[in-house]
Symmetry: D3
Subunit: 319 residues, 6 copies
């Protein structure tokens, strides 16, 4: 019952459902020092313009993640917990209903991870939490190459009452703040109806590379993985994964579902094709657990995506 | 398909599920002028410290309310739509994640109703929306006698990061702002575990009369109704009903459920015992629809509570 | 796997979830001959004016009924399957979307049970199926004394497009057809808002005794049981139980839920107080299984109510 | 709160969850005059031979449709509300449990739209409602070319008790009535087990072109789109989309789910490949909302399909 | 993020949904030494004869328990965490599908708590886990006075294939093993249908005092509390609470629901009336989370019951 | 209501929802004599190491299977009930919580089917039930060629407390017992994270052919079908289908979901490509109905898979 850091519980000896669920049954810790990567929940939905409840996302992902096992056979049978020292740091505190104050608190929590030298691996929360992460990570690593999976660009300027901070605006704000370098960045998965004709071009105008869901399949996973690697080559990378990238059949519990996305298999195949990224921070966001039934498939897929990103980091470090 | 104001659809002629659901199938209008009472949704959950999703409350209550019929046999077979001219005004706009800005917008929307001479009958939303309503109603009618059904007092001073505005603070703020007269006011239904020993006494210290759930049954419904009438006699009344007053078996979909409350039958019997209130504004709040299944029993009970309050208003006006 | 008639499976030897679920794990049969009572599903919802899905009611009640055990300790520890020969006859066929044709088919199926000398114990289906039952039972036993539990009187004249046959009209039709004797009949549980002031008086005008939900508690269960016995004394009785008699907290999955009803404990206590009825037919109706979650509490309560009625019949026969 | 016709609410200014949900937040109107297209709910499930509840379909689709935005980037960035004047007309009245009477009422409601010169864009309801639509549209435009997406042919002759009108028979009836020209018509998506060997050939014998789900993928979307355009060229088209065309993983809440269909992405890609149809009427049918959880993915996909059809109409009119 | 033992997180400073949920937000520990009481999950459902899934019970109760606050106003405003040093020890390991082996492992885990001098406060798990607890507690404290809330006696001899260990047999086994003294013990809440006439008398024959649900209300809560205190006076007490004691409307997610139980308010009032028990061990069992919807009312009530028992212990210690 | 063996109810005459649901509405029988194939439920979840509830699987699959029709157009329009005499035998008895005893009882029940000369077509239950089936079938037919669809190999040696019998071990046990010939056997669909690097190689080392999910798509369905036919040629085949082979979007209600599997359409296309197998026994396992919502898509797909296997058997027999 008191596992050592970086040694998750063995699900062949103790059933998965035994014990308080942490991410992949990792030890719960309150310090990032000495870790290579740290799981950190960012349970805020104050930036959510439509469906709410992402505040319950981190624990839902933890609960589903107990299914996952340490070996990743898609990257040379790597044991991610031998390759990386990881712990679950619990959640950052938030101020529900106060988006601005929440962003400050989230940034402080991520900053502690970054300052300790660990890669923050965050579980949202709505997509506005990524701005707080980018600020903390860029403070140490400089302008970041963003690898952004999503069905929306999230580069709008303002939302209701001309508020500049919400789940729809972080990737315009990040460019304005100079913490993301759009010329090294790519947005992948855009689809569906638009508010205005400029919804896609606003990202292109900022300098982002944009790949729609349709283009993912025209280009092919391998070529797209290569394009991502080329685009970000040499830069510190921040990978953000909005679960609405995936089709609602495989990810129903998201804030702003968009019909017509990739399946879970296609999504994982694309992620597994990607390599060579120097990931300094990452997240999986926008899971709203009350919008799905007891099968918890969105949370399970979200946990699986995070485990794939951890394997990506582990493989990169092993060279 | 274009019903006249104050003439809801007849559910013996057109099935209830036909048409876009408005409150009790009332006509949808954008003006309060000429109305005696107006249904107004206040779809904000920016003040919710625990479960979120009350932004979906107003439409969930509308959807369940189509079950209800116009005659109230508990107050002399009154037809509430003959006694009162009522319409459904839709929802006030909100700024999700920005509690302060939201309170301003909500107050403006309620103010338009009050200014038109109609009684605002609001559907929340978390309990912080009541502060906006109280401000608008008190502006016209002066300090209000609050009749407050809830399992919590909501008279705490601050919440996370010392924020002064949330669903846990409106009835301290209202006293501070002079818009509620605690000496004419009563809080009914408090129960359950407390943060601090002072959770109840803080209300008493402010001057509120406080009746716990246990005391409701000790006192009896008739005597309690009399105590409410005496307490508020002659004053303009604001009646606010937090659905967590009721036991979670009958109202599972609330923000902060508290086990051990009255049943639906007891709740309605208490409301039906109450009379003689000069209601200037009222609301039913804290319904979070994603926290219940397809039976929608919380929304149905919430709609029934609102219909009872409308009958209370109608009866009072008929003298 | 081939139990003999009137010998349900023993849940101490074979777990309840083993086998295709029949009512209380009774043998499935296709003949009523030789039986004292027969379970018959009437899976029609063509008469439902609001929520639909009661076609799935009979099997949902069967599935929940496997929880029940043969001994009833409330009537002298009677073993209902020793006292009565009972089998589950499956369902009557129906013609979905064709209310008139469905009523004919249902009547034929019930008639076969009645003709075989068995008491039809039916599981609905919407409340219009009771008219078919009453026709078949009255054909053999003459005008019936109706004991009717419901939150609505179901004595309206017509519904949409002036249709005379629906779940809202059977107990006016039955009086018109002379198959129910209102002077020996009683309706119990009426409550909630009304379409018109006459919703209750229309039943009184027909000659029914009517007891509202409020009156149930004013009168008391024992006195009410006595009033029922007196009202029906000497007459052949048909007992019909609409699940919306019960509060939605205990019976959320019904066609037209009405907030403020008795709890499950109060409901069963009232039924257990009742005796001395010469029951010639009975039913439990209006369960719409898709309107509740996996706990199936409405179906379980419906099954329990039917088991209580079976015990009532068994006790009456034992004198 | 009182938007002008053809100007839906802007979801960047007012959150989507604010206000009574109409289709894509369009204005609610009671007149079709002056409109290019009109959304009309047909909330009947009297024709449903298996799962019921499609009466709740129109409002479920409206509720999900508030996610959608006006620009369609798949047809030249068309703004469908600039290209077409559209309003939401609410629902047609129905007579639950009376299929024949319901078909009359539905036809009258659609007829009013057609007579006003607007294209009826209907939301079902079970598939029998399409017969009513076809009758109204053919009255004005003559025999129609049917473009029919479905996993079943719905060309059976009779169902239970030899009833000729149900969700399984409209496309035989329509040929018999001369309102559909099978030689210009095509049925797409048939799959799964059959009642009889003739289930598919009965459609071919009537003169329909039939494309199974397997053939969709053998032929390819572009070639199939071309085949549809050739088949219907020059004729007035009625496009009907039964949601069970799609796999149950993406559309679980349908009346008769059939495992093994296209994904949502494949479905939308096929629709987006189709062009050049002179659509005089269309519908999306068979959504039964109680058969899915809170994610509402069937309703969201149904709304998206309707939005794609609207874009198809808009593009055709722009030439 | 690293709270000290016996100091749960303050929900006025950090929102309840922040952080991995432990019981009432207590610190998670792996040692019972120095504690007055210890929360321990017993996640086994190998003894469940009907519905399964109680293995998920402990974490569901933890998740709901974050709603609860430290002060109990029903026993003199006691702060249970000032009165008692408590921690959450996580779960005991189990061997799913191996009831005998599981009982051994559970006993060992409870034994470690008892040996450390702390009161084990366990969350089930099916009711067979109580046998393991009784063995561990009796080893130290001698034969125990059982205070048993349940709708079933659980004193059957064997179940399927004559297995002697299951959720239906622990309180016969405990008497046979001499670890419970039936003459000091009481079973409260029995109701519903029976397997055999002897279902109740078998407990009486063993020497238990038995109080049915009906008798609870005949006797009255105060008198019953007194009877419990008298029965157990001077003896070491084990209090076990099977959630099916409560009506399924308030506790739908249980293994063997029994219609007709007390409400949540009645249940808590009874518990709050009880005092003077020298509790050496306790549990809340039989919660099967997948059998309820997102409102989690069974888990919330279970957590509340446990919090009341903790207050009972605290008050007893304060004398 | 008393259909003759091998003549299921006609869903064009009697609606599917009428009657107690058996597999595809087949007659319920208690004897396998004279049958070609027999549906047998194996409702045990005592071997489940993670999610439980597969005890409810057989009846959930029956309930969904009523959607299916007798003709299979993918194998020459074969009517499976003309080609094969089939009945539903109900369920084998089990001993919940006693894995070893359960395996004995299950084997006896399957043995009765095999001894009668019928092919046992079983519905699980967790995957450990397959070991019981293999034992019974191999007793008559000798070592079996296993065709195993699953995302896991289930060839681990022991689980918790070194138990050798669980859902994770049957295909190692079967090789050890000599009842499966790994050299004629193939495992298809493995994917996801691993406990250890050897999770896949342990199967290869035993002599199984193993095809991962990725390889299914690399190889192609036709080539894979050929590889299966070649591998098993001439041997008696046992086909086992673990529903977690499929992606959780199409099969959410399984014991150990694994993100990234084939869709339902791909799954059925693969099965339909397979032929020439001399199937002596088969099953569909691991469905846990409480883990999905009312759409029941996992159960429907499971029923469809079983119907495809029945068609496979029918086609093989017809030569």
């Amino acid at each position: 019952m008191s596992p050592k850091p970086a040694a998750p519980k063995d699900s062949l000896n103790v059933p998965r459902f035994v014990g308080v669920p942490t991410f992949m049954r990792l030890p719960l810790s309150d310090r990032a020092e000495g870790l290579d990567a740290a799981i950190l929940g960012l349970p805020s939905d104050s930036g959510a313009p439509f469906r709410t409840g992402a505040r319950m996302g981190p624990n839902a992902v933890r609960q589903a993640s107990i299914m996952l096992r340490p070996f990743n056979p898609y990257r040379g049978n790597i044991d991610i917990f031998e390759a990386l020292k990881i712990a679950d740091l619990g959640d950052a505190p938030v101020v529900p209903g106060y988006e601005m104050e929440t962003l400050v608190w989230l940034e402080e929590a991520v900053d502690r991870v970054v300052s300790a030298g660990a890669v923050p691996c965050c579980i949202g929360g709505d997509h506005s939490v990524t701005l707080a992460e980018l600020r903390a990570v860029a403070k140490r690593h400089g302008p970041l190459a963003l690898v952004h999976f999503d069905s929306h660009t999230d580069t709008w300027d303002t939302y209701f009452a001309e508020r500049r901070y919400s789940a729809g605006t972080p990737f315009l704000r990040a460019v304005e703040e100079g913490i993301v370098d759009p010329a090294r960045s790519i947005q992948i998965g855009m689809r569906g109806s638009l508010f205005r004709a400029s919804d896609i071009t606003q990202s292109l105008d900022l300098g982002y590379d944009v790949v729609t869901t349709d283009e993912i399949f025209t280009i092919g996973f391998a070529a797209l993985a290569n394009r991502i690697a080329m685009r970000t080559a040499g830069a510190p990378v921040f990978l953000t994964f909005d679960m609405d990238f995936v089709d609602p059949s495989a990810a129903p519990a998201v804030e702003t579902p968009e019909a017509g996305g990739p399946t879970a298999r296609e999504t994982l195949a694309l992620l597994r094709a990607i390599g060579g990224l120097d990931i300094k921070g990452c997240d999986v966001v926008e899971i709203t657990p009350t919008y799905e039934g007891p099968g918890q498939i969105t949370s399970l897929l979200g946990a699986t995506v995070m485990a794939e990103i951890l394997a990506m980091i582990a493989q990169y470090r092993q060279g």
